[in-house]
């Protein structure tokens, strides 16, 4: 069946359709919206796209997205250099920074171990993380990968390599979402929350 759209619009729909979270209907809506936009808005959008591509790179130290060789967190002297938080993705850095609870530095692994999908340690930035330990005087690595099988595999793998180096390996806790009701929690999360219980300090 031939496309009902003229080729330039069909090309636009195809490009948007490749983006994460955008289905065929959304791609059509965005494409139709774009062709109706004023010229100057289009120019600004096009510039923002190429500018982001030109100026964003990976930090040489932590592999987070950065504008320069060293990202703003790695070049901030006020951060605690002895504690490192290993995360899966740049978006996790943003999520943890929003908590305001962490004053150490990060290392973005750019994925997790997933042997069943063929992702091994060589495909991740694990080697690069181990190279940072001694020079930066890192004494603790918090493995902040997602609490699923791949995240646990990654955490156990990293902990095993850290052990002979005398660097402490810790894992982010799993538990109940704050503000929720106990009765709605699944049995695994609730079980973990019980296992990770803490003494009430008064």
């Amino acid at each position: 069946m031939a496309s009902p759209y003229t080729p330039p619009i069909q090309a636009l729909i195809d490009e948007f359709g490749k983006l994460p979270g955008i289905g065929p209907r959304s791609a059509q809506r965005i494409a139709m919206h774009i062709v109706k936009m004023p010229r100057e808005d289009i120019n600004r959008l096009a510039h923002a796209l190429t500018d982001a591509k030109d100026r964003v790179r990976y930090c040489d130290m932590c592999f987070n997205l950065s504008e320069s060789e060293k990202c703003s967190i790695c070049s901030d002297d006020r951060r605690d250099s002895s504690i490192l938080c290993a995360v899966e993705d740049s978006r996790d850095v943003v999520a943890i920074e929003r908590t305001g609870e962490f004053r150490g530095r990060y290392h973005v692994l750019q994925g997790v171990l997933d042997p069943l999908q063929g992702i091994g340690p060589e495909q991740l930035k694990i080697k690069e993380m181990f190279r940072r330990l001694a020079p930066e005087g890192i004494t603790e690595v918090i493995v902040c990968t997602n609490p699923n099988t791949e995240g646990e595999v990654t955490a156990l793998y990293i902990a095993r390599l850290l052990e002979p180096l005398g660097v402490k390996a810790t894992r982010i806790a799993s538990g109940l979402p704050v503000g929720g009701d106990l009765e709605y929690a699944d049995e695994i999360t609730l079980g973990r929350a019980l296992g990770n219980r803490r003494t009430i300090e008064i």
């Binding site: 091994g120 595999v153 390599l161 695994i188």
Partner: protein
Amino acid sequence: MSLYREKAVVLRSYKFGESDRIVVMLSENSGKIRAVAKGIRKTTSRIGARLETLSHVDVQLYRGRDLDTVRQVDLIDTHTALRINLKRLEQGLSMVEAVDKLTPDREPVPHVYTMLSRALRSLNDAASPLIVGAFYWKLLSSEGVAPALDDCVRCGSSTELCALNMQEGGILCRSCRSGTAVSDAALNILRQVSSGGLATALTLDESPAVREVNQLAMALMEAHLERKLRSVGLFDRHL
């Protein structure tokens, strides 16, 4: 859309869309199923943790044209001990990986389902250095490709059996030998595994013969699959 219910072991899952996952499961009666679990990656998802790899579940699904959709999940066993121990996690993943690579979609293999769910439960209850080797050997037997172990497959001799050759279809004696060398101790374990002595074999402690059987079974499994198994030895690999 028709609704159906199955007991299943989760083999693996992968991200799909913004917050979904495709979960690959081996079910009791419908073989290997691929199903979308909607919203499973959100922290508000109630089924989230239940559909992790290695979980044993009772699941309700909508039948779709190529992909089914998960409607409800009840946990049979999450196999906690497999998730917190490096060795057992590696062993569990090694077993589900082989099953995943061996079984085609939607072709009922109830005997494989039974073997896998039993092996995972047994490994969850107690450490078992031999479990992956024994499980692979049993899988190969059920595929009809496990090597014959009784007499030399060439000359029929029952003494001085010392080598295993896949192409020849089994064990070989000293004068006919080719393929991989096999020790007497390893041959005894293999015979035990293939002739009703599985339960005893699974309680064996780590030993050179156990390691030999594991390596042998893994090599045979990889040869049969014509692919590498990535979970085997995962945590022994260095950077």
